[in-house]
């Protein structure tokens, strides 16, 4: 018996250090968080708040002064802050484990137009990168394939699950496409200037996109004698059940993208990346098109841009009435997704009101992704996907989570990394 116990103990110890954190069980007891400053995610703040949730749903949001019975476990959280779980739009978590190891990547399928390629089934719910999101408050993400012109179809997941099926919050929410740029880089290896030159094929390229969608639309209206999987996959775009996320930068490109999408009959649009969107804000407002900005922690590629161009664009767009969120795309995008709160913090440092900046990770994102009926703010009836932080979660110094819940489940805030931290801290302590 002792042996069995020991080997079990051994198994768990080892198991713990290798595998992902075990997903939390379904919420069985109600939870009441009392006394914290609640940032609702819709712009409102309740100081000395009371938040209650049961069976995975929020049951009460209000002041702690309210004379109402506290349900279940009561967590005293004076001086702390409660936030709705942050949502990473345009992320690719779980599709690659280690960037440089090709075998660990399921990100970019071959082919030009891949609307039928679905990210969800490759999403690795047990990724070590995924679990490292949670201690920073990032609890949901839109998992997006990359590459090609039409990259494929994304799904939205929550980040504490046994498998992709359990993880799914919204399946196949949108189709993503990369809009061509009007500039092409010189082939420096052939002795050309590496600078970007006007791409003479730009017009041709966008014409191709237009005709692809037109063909798809015609196919869908036909008797479909021979099934065409990619065209079938675009159905949602034309009946309005799916959004088209156009990854595009540049004033001209954004304008072309919107014009052509409208021409082919796709109305549900989201602009992703969006440098230059500030210059066409009126067009975006007119058509009610939101923008998922790329993370501000990047250098503008235009030498003459102000140093804070990538910091201030959120404020400019918000002031003009565009619905804005923050996405991840580019270098080291997966591991950096945990820095999402600090991107919002940077936008706040450069003009946005702090609570408005918070919306860029919560209610705005939920609206843009079409999941605002479930998540994105602390409101009665929505998922109890939220967390408690010691301080301001948008600031590195304050972003210290003590508790996090996904759909009411009390999730682990440990990771591969915290375990190594503890192991080695202990090593030096015992020395």
């Amino acid at each position: 018996m002792k042996n069995i116990l020991y080997s079990l103990l051994f198994f768990f110890c080892i198991g713990n250090s290798i595998a992902q954190q075990t997903p939390a069980n379904k919420q069985s007891t109600a939870v009441s968080i009392e006394g914290a400053t609640a940032h609702l995610g819709n712009g409102q703040v309740i100081k000395n708040s009371l938040i209650m949730f049961a069976d995975g749903k929020i049951t009460f949001v209000g002041s702690a002064m309210a004379k109402i019975a506290r349900q279940g476990t009561v967590i005293k959280a004076e001086g702390k802050h409660v936030y709705p779980g942050f949502i990473a739009a345009n992320a690719s978590l779980g599709l690659v484990e280690i960037d440089a190891v090709k075998a660990s990547a399921d990100l970019d399928e071959i082919g030009i137009n891949n609307p039928h390629i679905r990210s969800l089934i490759a999403y690795n719910a047990e990724s070590k990168v995924v679990e490292s999101m949670r201690p920073n408050g990032v609890l949901m993400a839109q998992i997006t394939p990359r590459g090609g012109t039409i990259s494929g179809t994304s799904s939205i997941v929550q980040l504490d699950a046994w498998n992709w099926e359990d993880a799914a919050v919204k399946i196949d929410d949108a189709i993503h496409m990369n809009w061509p740029g009007s500039f092409a880089r010189g082939r420096w290896w052939l002795g050309e200037d590496p600078g970007l030159k006007v791409d003479v094929k730009y017009g041709e390229n966008i014409e191709k996109i237009k005709s692809y969608f037109t063909d798809a639309k015609n196919y869908l209206a036909s008797n479909k004698e021979k099934k065409h999987l990619p065209y079938e996959a675009t159905k949602g775009l034309f009946n309005g059940s799916q959004k088209l996320f156009i990854h595009v930068t540049g004033q001209r490109e954004i304008t072309d993208a919107i014009t052509i999408a409208k021409e082919v009959g796709i109305d549900n649009l989201v602009i992703v990346r969006g440098d230059g969107a500030d210059k066409v804000a009126d067009l975006l407002v007119k058509h009610n098109i939101p923008v998922i900005l790329n993370r501000p922690h990047r250098n503008s590629d235009n030498e003459d841009d102000a140093y804070d161009y990538t910091y201030t664009i959120a404020k400019i767009l918000t002031d003009k009435g565009v619905l804005v969120s923050i996405g991840m795309e580019g270098q080291m995008e997966r591991m950096n997704t945990r820095n999402l709160p600090f991107y919002a913090g940077t936008f706040a440092a450069h003009g946005l009101d702090k609570e408005v900046a918070l919306q860029l990770l919560t209610s705005n994102t939920a609206k843009i992704l079409g999941i605002d009926d479930m998540v994105g703010s602390l409101e009665v009836g929505k998922h109890a996907t939220l967390f408690i932080s010691e301080g301001d979660a948008l600031d590195m110094r304050g972003n210290l989570l003590t508790k996090a819940y996904i759909q009411g489940r009390d999730i682990s805030l440990e990771t591969h990394q915290t375990e190594l931290y503890k192991r080695y801290s202990d090593k030096y302590k015992t020395k």
Binding site: P194, L196, K197, D301, Y307, D308
Partner: protein
Amino acid sequence: MKKLLFLLFFLSLTVIQAQDYFPTDSGVKTTENTTFAFTNATIYLTPDEVIKNGTLLIKDGKVVSVGKSVKIPKGAKTTDLEGKIIYPSFIDIYADFGIEKPKRSSSTSRTTQYDASREGYYWNDHIRPDTNPIEDFKFDSKKAKELIDAGFGVVNTHMQDGIIRGTGLLVALNPNASNAYRILNTKSAHYLSFDRSVQTRQSYPNSRMGAMALLRQVYNDANWYAKGNMKNKDMALEALNGNKNLVQIFETGNHLDALRADKVGDEFSVQYTIVGSGDEYERVTDIKATNANFIIPINFSNAYDVSNPLLAQQISLRDMRKWNQEPSNLSVLSKNGINFALTTHDLKSVKSFHKNLQKAIKYGFDTTKALAALTTIPAQIIGSTAIGNLKTGSHANFIITSGDIFDAKTTLFENWVQGGQNVINDMKIKDITGTYTVNVNDKNYDLTIAGKGAKQTGALKMEDKKVKATFSFKDNWVSMTLHEESGFTRMLGKVINVDNEMQGTAYDSLGTETTWSASKKAIEDDKKETSDKKEEKEEKEMTVFPVSYPNLGFGNFTQPEATTILIKNVTVWTSEDDGILENTDVLLKDGKIDKIGKNLKARKALEIDGTGKHLTAGIVDEHSHIATSAVNEGGQNSSAEVTIEDVVDPTDINIYRNISGGTTSAQILHGSANPIGGRSAIIKLKWGENAANMMYDNSPKFIKFALGENVKQSRSSNGVRFPQTRMGVEQMFTDYFTRAKEYEALKKSGNSYRKDTELETLVEILNGERFISCHSYVQSEINMLMKVAEKFNFRVNTFTHILEGYKVADKMAEHGVGGSTFSDWWGYKYEVNDAIPFNAAIMHNAGVTVAINSDDAEMSRRLNQEAAKTIKYGGMSELEAWKTVTINPAKLLHIDDKVGSIKIGKDADVVLWSDHPMSIYAKAEKTIIDGKVFFDLEKDAKKRVAISEEKSKLINMMLKEKMSGGKTKAPMKRGDINFQCDTLEELKN
């Protein structure tokens, strides 16, 4: 018929002058010895010596006599050049005339070639001083004609390939002689550049700094060889030593490279003549300080087509300014007293040479200087007194023109080379340009003739309506065919007198003959005036925008000066034992921190109210790759001989962006392509200063080492370079340090030794004079390098990246090495799978000096935020967290006696923050280096406005250029690459 052709061919051959001791089988032996006299001309002996109404006498290809009263010998062929001007023919001393550039090595092998392909020559194929292009030289008649037509008489040509390129040939552009006469000098100069040879795939050097290091080593080896110390024969070094006394001409691609070339030359007492690039005006003071002679191209870029505003806004101010400023380059160089010759090098077509030169003259370039830059100066550079002037005894190379040679309206008639006539425009052809009234069949037409010489063309109008017609003018006969509704009219006539009146016969469509005549119209005065005015106006519009430092948006028009600054009532983060001082005053004086205290007063100080704000030491980035033109020299597994100090690029906008985030000092590191990388540059981010001024005085010496995946070429599918494993990396270090020890022992023994820059560098490490900053990830390799160092009795100074430092922190503390790490990067490659953001905290707790670095041009502008992450991950105190980006990296870089904390006596490198410096909401409001404000939020706002205004002005000027028929080019966006450790490709600048 065939025979006849053959004979003709033969005859044409005999035209070429034969050497007089050669036998003749084509007829009786004849010798040409005619004397030619050119009288009544204005003769430029040199740009400064002009003879009016003089006579030039030439014979046997040389000037026999020249002057006002020259006696013309009997039998001389005399040409009256009344009203015409004679100039010495031009010289281009940087050309590839007649020498075809070799084709790129066609090998399709993807395996990197490390060894040289030539035997008996230097170990590096890019060193080709033995190249003597005489064997490849083929007189290119077509190109010669182009050059002759542009006024050139002599070119200095060479093989434009490789870093050391061998000797040049001085060639007279004489189409009627054989090489025996044309080639004036078979070893006229020795040529160099920074560019690799295309004839080899040998990988080293693949960067600018590698090319510079290689040149230095070649010079050292050539000395060693000259002293007879080498056991082997090296034909390259032999050739190099043989070419030592020739003029050394160095081609560069931009002014930064020009300064770099000069620096290498100075180290070996070689003064290069530098082939510039046309951007010298951007740093003319530094260019002047080289004391070099320059050879300057005049390849001016076209305006951008900015008619599409969306595309136009992508063009950087730097590129737009270039169009506006570069025509002033020659004028700027000349006003600064820089000695330079001109070259047609870089021009797509020689035909644009005069047009561009005329443009430069419009922009203030003096015409006497222009003539000198094409005649006497190139002759002086190349060391020939017999060309570039028309003094007695010189080559009879001269141009006959209708007027000032640099005037667009002037016609070049003839260009004589070595006493042989080359007609450009027939002098005998009358100038019939002007407007005429043509009368034929009782109808009057307006005929306007324009153009030069045989290419004069005419256009016909009737009552301001164009008439379809052809026009030709040959041998003083004018022929025209009119095509009207009534049918064709053919007209043939002759110019009959000085007033260019014409008379002739016309044939209508029925064949009826009539006479026609044309008489010149007097030019209406008012018309002339307007055209003059137009020109005047154009000249006024030639505004050249001022140069900023660096010459791009956000550059400084005047450099900030050190003023006394008193910051009042601020929260001071000292990064010293004093910790944080509230409500304190700090006085900055003479570039130093002068006083820290309460209620400080200072006369004439700029007072800044710091209430509610925070003052810290400037951020120090231990690991950066900004502000450099190259990052990796990965052509070999060790590149200890290269240094980033050679390639610091002060024009990188990231310098400005970094100071906008409070970073003031950075170590610019070599990349991680090889285990022993290159030496570092430690710089202050003094935006606007030149490279030399950015570097620390008596800078501590550093070198980059690297371990792991990058150096073992893990992600290359065809790596063949040793080492390919971590096991090999250990042996490589052991090998190099063993050799370094042996080298030092030999050096100390007093015996002669071959100076090896690479081993010299490693000896410095062994002796604790140079410090290692080693790129490292996993614990095994970290441990290994410490053991190797201990075996050789030195200490590793810094492990950079060091993402598994937390696993061996105790060993690191014991060894005494510091750790400079990322706050939270991981997962980007296999060896960082166990990287944790708690790394800094664990190392710190174990007693390691810890810094947070960037390795990224974006992160280096917000290292304050990265420091804050050590509070979040691992719970470091705020004071200790702040030290990870200030005093700790300063300690690791051995510059903590100067920077890294706010302490009396240290350099005044401070940042004024709007908020707690580690708050995400903090902004740097002022960044001060050496007491000078290099970044100021308010000035930044003004700069933004200025950029947009200047761009608008330039756009208007470019539009005007397009509308007035100027050529334009498509908009282009700069595609700068931000460097990281792994960056292998090199930017041109």
